[in-house]
Structure formats: structure tokens, C-alpha cells
């Protein structure tokens, strides 16, 4: 009789689970990022492969080291560090010096994530914290672009990639301004089709809008991404930049704004980071609308051609307040006595 109790487990309800876990979600985000890496390597060659490899491995090592240091069980298995590594690599210029990329990865993991208590507690997207640091520390390197589809891209590195640590990267040739920089400083407009397909210069992973949208679509279908956020950002950017374009046709047209620079990558993969975006549906609309407005303002009026990074970081900063403001309306709270 008592042997019946040997295998028995006692727990409180609910006794069922959906069978989904954090690592499964994170792993699927990595799957969605793989085609983007592929296209980036195809567009820019060897240098981008080693760039993403460097940020990925450095982020994983940093995560592991921090766990060892703080005597906590390893958290590499949840794949979140891998996502940060890949995303950081994809937001950097193709010929970005590898030592700088590694430094940025360490900053991303340490200051962007571990400092706040690790996964789930970081107020800002760690990859963007890393990139913001790099933007401040190495303004030249992070705005030095190389042309897409160079003939020798699979055999030779871009000359800045292998710069020695603590040396300044000195490019031989000034080349490949991004579409946004060309628009801002030279008033040249890139073709929207080229932007969509990725036939232009830019950061490693941001050039091909098509493959980014496919990855985002996959995650949205699997309900691992809140579709409201990218859609909200797109609508907001279209609306606000459309307004400026209507007032003064010298401003870039809305579709150009939508497909140029890091907007696609940022809207689909960075702004949607679950940890740093609002939890309520209404909050997601406010948050994405805010990011879209900020992007257009920074791009049109700021000193920098690109504004997605700062727009998302500011959106992240507003998230706790947005959450508080948009608490869902509780059942039965309309009328009747307040018993609690």
C-alpha cells in the first residue's frame, strides 16, 4: 500500500503547462536571425562573418564569466546572450574593427545586462547599450562604411577589420556612404527597391529589409514577438515623416525613411525585446508610436544621420511608466463596492 506513494508528486494547481520555455522562445529568435546573418555575409563577405562571430562568442564568454564570478549557475543555456551577441554584430558597420566589437560586447553584457541583475531585469536592450558605447567611444570607426558586393569580399578582409587593439582604424579609401548619410549630407536619395532588397551600403545586418521582415513574420506567427510594436513603429514613421514630406518635399519621402538605415532591424528585433518593451497591448502602441516619432525627429533634425538606436533606448526608458499608465481594466471594477 505505501509503495503507492513512492513516485507521487504533490503540487498546487494548475497541474498543466503549455510546454513553452524561455530557451525555446530565445532559440527561435536566433533561428529568425540566421537568414539575416547569411544575407549580411553574402553582401559584405568575410569581414561580417568574423564580426558577428566575434560579438557572439564574446557575449557568450562574458555571460559565462559573469556567472562564474557571481557564483551563479550558468545562464548561457537560455540563449539570451547569443541574441545580444548576434544583434550587436548586425548593427555594426561591416568593416568594424574586431577588437572594438569585442569590447562593445563585454560592455553590453556587463553594463547592459548583468549590472541590473541579468535576464529579465535590464531596463535597456543590452545590444543597444553596447552599440551606444561604441558610438560614443569610436565615432569614426562606427561611421566608416564599405560598399556592398565588392568582388573580392569572400577572399579578403575589409582593411579596417583587423585593426590592432587600441589603434585607430584608418581606412585607405573613403567609400560607401549609407543611404541615410547620402540623403542627409549629399541630398541623394537611394532607390526604395534597392533598400528593400539590400542592394546598398549600411550596417552589416540592416541592409536587406525583406529578410528581416520574413524573420519577424515567422516570430509573430509563432507568437514569440508582439506584432504591434513593429507595425506601430512603421505606421508612426510613415505618418510623421509623411507630414514633413508634405510640408517640404525636400525632406525624404516616407517609404525611404521606412526602409533605410537600421529601422527595420531595430523595429522588428530590438524594439520587440520582451524584457524592455511594455506588457500591455495599449502600452505597445504608445511605445512603438513614441519610437517612430523619435526616429524621424533625430534623423531629420539631429546631427547624426541615424536615430533608431537612441529612439529605442528612449522608448525602453519610458517602458516602466507606460506599463504603469496602461494597466488593464480589471473585470468587475466598473461598478459595485470596493471590498479590497
Amino acid at each position: 500500500m505505501t509503495s503507492r506513494y513512492l513516485d507521487m508528486e504533490i503540487s498546487t494547481s494548475p497541474h498543466l503547462g503549455r510546454g513553452l520555455s524561455v530557451p525555446i522562445i530565445m532559440r527561435n529568435v536566433v533561428y529568425a536571425l540566421l537568414p539575416i546573418i547569411g544575407v549580411a555575409v553574402y553582401t559584405f563577405g568575410l569581414s561580417v562573418f568574423f564580426l558577428v562571430f566575434t560579438t557572439l562568442v564574446t557575449c557568450l564568454m562574458a555571460e559565462r564569466f559573469i556567472c562564474l564570478w557571481t557564483r551563479k549557475p550558468s545562464t548561457i543555456g537560455d540563449y539570451s546572450a547569443a541574441i545580444t551577441g548576434i544583434l550587436l554584430g548586425l548593427t555594426l558597420p561591416p568593416g568594424f574593427p574586431l577588437w572594438m566589437a569585442a569590447l562593445g560586447s563585454v560592455i553590453a553584457m556587463a553594463l547592459g545586462k548583468a549590472l541590473f541583475g541579468g535576464l529579465g531585469f535590464n531596463p535597456f536592450n543590452p545590444a543597444l547599450v553596447g552599440r551606444a558605447f561604441l558610438q560614443a567611444a569610436f565615432p569614426t570607426a562606427i561611421t566608416t562604411w564599405s560598399d556592398a558586393f565588392q568582388a573580392d569580399r569572400f577572399t579578403t578582409f575589409i582593411n579596417t577589420t583587423l585593426t590592432l587593439p587600441f589603434m585607430k582604424a584608418i581606412p585607405d579609401t573613403v567609400s560607401g556612404a549609407t543611404a541615410l548619410a547620402a540623403m542627409k549630407f549629399d541630398h541623394k536619395l537611394a532607390d526604395t527597391y534597392d533598400l528593400f532588397i539590400g542592394n546598398i551600403s549600411g550596417s552589416a545586418g540592416e541592409t536587406c529589409a525583406l529578410v528581416i521582415l520574413l524573420g519577424g513574420g515567422y516570430l509573430a506567427l509563432r507568437k514569440m514577438l508582439d506584432w504591434r510594436i513593429p507595425v506601430g513603429i512603421f505606421l508612426s514613421v510613415l505618418l510623421v515623416s509623411g507630414l514633413f514630406w508634405w510640408m517640404d518635399p525636400k525632406n525624404p519621402p516616407p517609404l525611404f525613411m521606412l526602409f533605410s538605415g537600421g529601422l527595420m532591424l531595430g523595429a522588428v528585433f530590438m524594439a520587440t525585446d520582451m524584457v524592455t518593451s511594455p506588457v500591455t497591448p495599449v502600452g505597445a502602441w504608445i511605445y512603438s508610436g513614441l519610437i517612430g516619432v523619435l526616429v524621424v525627429f533625430i534623423r531629420l533634425f539631429g546631427g547624426l544621420p541615424e536615430g533608431v538606436m537612441y529612439a529605442i533606448l528612449l522608448g525602453n526608458a519610458a517602458t516602466p511608466l507606460i506599463n504603469l499608465m496602461t494597466q488593464p481594466k480589471v473585470y468587475g471594477s466598473v461598478k459595485g463596492g470596493k471590498k479590497d
Binding site: P14, V22, Y331, G332, G337
Partner: protein, 441 residues
């Protein structure tokens, strides 16, 4: 036809096909019965038998102790062995009467007093419901007559007969609707008269088309009775979800269905009232679904109240060792710690989990604010924030700012959480802490 429903909720695997087609079968008498005196919400019943006394099947053995309490009847003809204590499903000592049935005692009810239902006043009907020891058979075991007595100044317009049965695995209400439709109709007529309501609505989820069809057929020509079909979604059967889906009305926070003119009663409860009240019999058995992959002969059984669980498991057979035994459904049911515990009036199902289908101990990750819980909570709470506050022992803030006490522990948030955070468990502990603090103050 568009199906009625509410926002949010979840779609767990139903697993109802295991027992949905199995007709209700009778159960043999066990070697002994354990009748807990507190198997309903409210005050425990007062025993009126002595040790060694002979009792008949259906005889009153304990009387109601006050208004929120119900009597208990003997499930079999036999002798009272003990009036003392026994262990409940938690393994806690609880007052109980133990009865040894005579060998070969019949399943015929020997004690009853038939009533003239045509000339009963509403008050007499409600008194009759208490006298038969009736409680909500859906799981809460709240005395039915209390529910049927609206607070002063409130009138009841709508009687909702709850046949949603949204819990996975359970099919007892489904079978009752198919096999006891006449009893249900009789019960509805009695209750309509008892609470003086204008109309009765039988609420059924769309996954039971045969029951919907039969109930519609039975209610043809009955002006006051109608059938409403709901989308299959957990927790549609909860009172709060029913009123919102059916009438677009919310039960006020901390209030009762009567506040919006409703009384909600489980379909099995109504069937038992329709069957037992005219004969003046007490509630001594109930339909229980026994299911789960840990059971060899799953099915729907008519089991006498007080039958010990280990006897039931012997009868239906276990596949190896039971991994987990649950009283009720797997979403809101209670984990059983003690297998000698008896069946009580509120148990609608026994689910025995085998290893494979059980979620077992999963690694808990930090909350990643994925908002799955926010988008599944039927009450529209924010379980994510509540969970984080619970970790910091901010129980008062949970209650004051985040509506902790509106949570009815349906389990949707824990079910969807990819971080496997035991949110419902946190909320139970938090409620307990707040209650203790308030009663101390």
C-alpha cells in the same frame, strides 16, 4: 451562429475524448465509508448517530449546523463504526463518521419521504434543497440553498445552468446532460420556482454538440428555458466569465452573481435536485470522471460519497505507480497527498497523471515580461507585475493597487508562463498573508 465568449483565456489540450463516450456506470460499495463532516463550505455538520448504531442507505446521520451548512446522509446500509476523526486529502485530521456497510447491502435507497412538488412554495423548495444536503457539485461545494437565497433587496431574473465544463479531462457534466436530461429539466423548473426567476439559460461549450442538441430538444416548448452555446475556451465555466459572455455584465468586484440578478448553478447540481427533491432523498452519490493516462479503465462513474480513494483506484486500476492524483480538473483541482481520503460532495473528477503528461518540475527562469500572462488573464489582471511584487513580499501593494483579491486562481497565467513561474501559488500565499494581517489588525 456566432458563439458567445469572453476576452483572453487559454486553450489547453482537452483530453476529454478519453471518457466523453463512456456512459455513467455504478460503483460497488467499498469495505468502509468515511464521511467527512466538513465536505461543504461553511460550518461542519453535527453528527446525530452513535458508534454501533445501524443506519439505512439514505438515512440522516448528521444535521446542518446553522444556515451555511448542510446535512449528511448515509451512503449505505450498515453500522456506524466510529464518530471521530479521519484524514482528508491533505493528510490533515478532520471530523468524520465511519460506516461499515453490511455485506450484500442493496443499492436501493431505503430512507426517503416523497414530496408534493406541485404545491411547494419557493421557501419550501429552498428548504428542501438544504435538507437533501445539496452543495455545488462543480467543485466549490458551496451549499446550494444559500446561493438560491438572494441577499435582501435583490431579485433574481436569470438562472444560469452551467454545463460548460471547461476543465480539461472532465466529462461528468457532459454525461449528465446526455443521460439525465429529464432530471435536469425537472430541476430547472423547481429552481425557477424557488428563486422566482424569469428565465433559465443552459450554458454549454461548443465542444459538446450532442449535449447541445439534446438540451435544445428538451427545452422546446418551455418558454422560460433556453440554451446558449459558448466558444470552447478555458475558463468559460467560471461564474465571472459566464455572466460577461452571456449578458455582457460583470459581477462587481467582491460581489455576488445576485448583484446583477443572476444565480449560477452547475448542471449536475440541477440534475440531482430534479431527481432527489421530488422523492425527498438525500445526496449520497455523485457522478465522477476518472481519467488520465495513469488509469487503466477511465470512465464516468456514479460513486457513493465517502468511498475511499484507494478503493476507487483499485477498482479502475493504475498503470504502474500514480505520478500525481488530482481531485477535480488539472487546472483548478487539488493535488492529493493522502490516498485513503474519501470522495466528498465537491469532487467532480479524479485525474491520475502518468509521468509523460505531467509537467513535472521545470526550471524556473526570471520573468522576461513576455506579456503572455497579461494577455491570458480572464480577469484582466497583470500577473507579471503581481508576481514580481510577490517575490519582494509587497503583499499589501498587490492587494491595494493590483486587485489581488479579484484573482480566482484559474491558473491561466501559470499555464502560459514560459519562465514556469508558479504565479497562482504566489498569489495564494499573498492572499493568505494579507488575510492574516487584516484579521490581526
Amino acid at each position: 451562429m456566432s458563439l458567445k465568449t469572453f476576452a483572453h483565456g487559454i486553450h489547453p489540450r482537452e483530453n476529454k475524448e478519453i471518457t466523453a463516450l463512456k456512459p455513467i456506470r455504478r460503483f460497488p460499495f467499498p469495505p468502509y465509508f468515511v464521511l467527512l463532516l466538513s465536505q461543504h463550505a461553511g460550518k461542519p455538520a453535527k453528527p446525530i448517530v452513535r458508534e454501533g448504531q445501524e443506519v439505512c442507505r439514505g438515512e440522516l446521520i448528521a444535521v446542518a449546523n446553522g444556515f451555511v451548512s448542510v446535512p449528511i446522509h448515509s451512503p449505505a446500509t450498515g453500522v456506524v463504526k466510529k464518530v471521530g476523526t479521519s484524514l482528508d486529502f491533505n493528510g490533515k485530521m478532520a471530523p468524520a463518521i465511519i460506516i461499515i456497510p453490511y455485506p450484500g447491502s442493496l443499492q436501493q435507497v431505503e430512507c426517503w419521504q416523497s414530496r408534493d412538488i406541485d404545491h411547494m412554495t419557493p421557501k419550501e423548495i429552498i428548504q428542501g434543497v438544504q435538507d437533501m444536503g445539496m452543495v455545488g457539485l462543480g467543485g466549490a461545494a458551496f451549499p446550494t440553498h444559500v446561493k438560491l437565497t438572494p441577499p435582501k433587496g435583490k431579485t433574481i431574473e436569470t438562472l444560469i445552468i452551467n454545463g460548460c465544463e471547461c476543465e480539461p479531462y472532465l466529462t461528468s457534466d457532459h454525461r449528465v446532460m446526455l443521460e439525465q436530461s429529464d432530471d435536469i429539466m425537472m430541476g430547472i423548473r423547481l429552481l425557477l420556482k424557488g428563486v422566482m426567476a424569469q428565465r433559465a439559460v443552459i450554458a454549454i461549450e461548443a465542444n459538446k454538440p450532442d449535449a447541445i442538441e439534446l438540451m435544445k430538444k428538451c427545452s422546446e416548448g418551455e418558454k422560460q428555458i433556453s440554451v446558449a452555446v459558448f466558444q470552447t475556451k478555458y475558463p468559460q465555466g467560471a461564474e465571472k466569465m459566464l455572466t460577461r459572455a452571456l449578458m455582457k455584465k460583470d459581477i462587481p468586484s467582491g460581489g455576488l452573481p445576485a448583484d446583477i440578478g443572476c444565480v449560477i448553478s452547475n448542471v449536475a447540481t440541477v440534475a440531482e435536485i430534479g431527481r432527489l427533491l421530488p422523492r425527498g432523498q438525500g445526496l449520497i452519490e455523485r457522478v465522477v470522471t476518472i481519467s488520465g493516462r495513469g488509469v487503466q479503465r477511465p470512465g464516468n462513474y456514479f460513486i457513493p460519497i465517502g468511498t475511499p480513494l484507494d478503493f476507487i483506484l483499485d477498482q479502475v486500476g493504475l498503470e504502474g505507480r500514480a505520478h500525481q492524483v488530482i481531485f477535480g480538473g488539472p487546472m483548478m483541482g487539488k493535488g492529493v497527498a493522502f490516498l485513503e481520503t474519501p470522495i466528498t460532495k465537491g469532487i467532480s473528477g479524479i485525474v491520475v497523471m502518468a509521468d509523460a503528461e505531467h509537467k513535472s518540475r521545470q526550471k524556473i527562469y526570471p520573468c522576461i515580461k513576455c506579456a503572455e500572462c497579461v494577455n491570458s488573464c480572464p480577469i484582466h489582471l497583470n500577473p507579471s507585475t503581481l508576481g514580481l511584487l510577490a517575490r519582494k513580499d509587497e503583499f499589501d501593494q498587490m492587494a491595494e493597487d493590483f486587485h489581488l483579491f479579484d484573482c480566482f486562481e484559474c491558473g491561466c497565467c501559470s499555464y502560459v508562463c514560459p519562465s514556469h513561474i508558479p504565479l497562482v501559488q504566489y498569489f495564494r500565499l499573498a492572499k493568505e498573508a494579507v488575510r492574516k494581517k487584516r484579521s490581526a489588525a
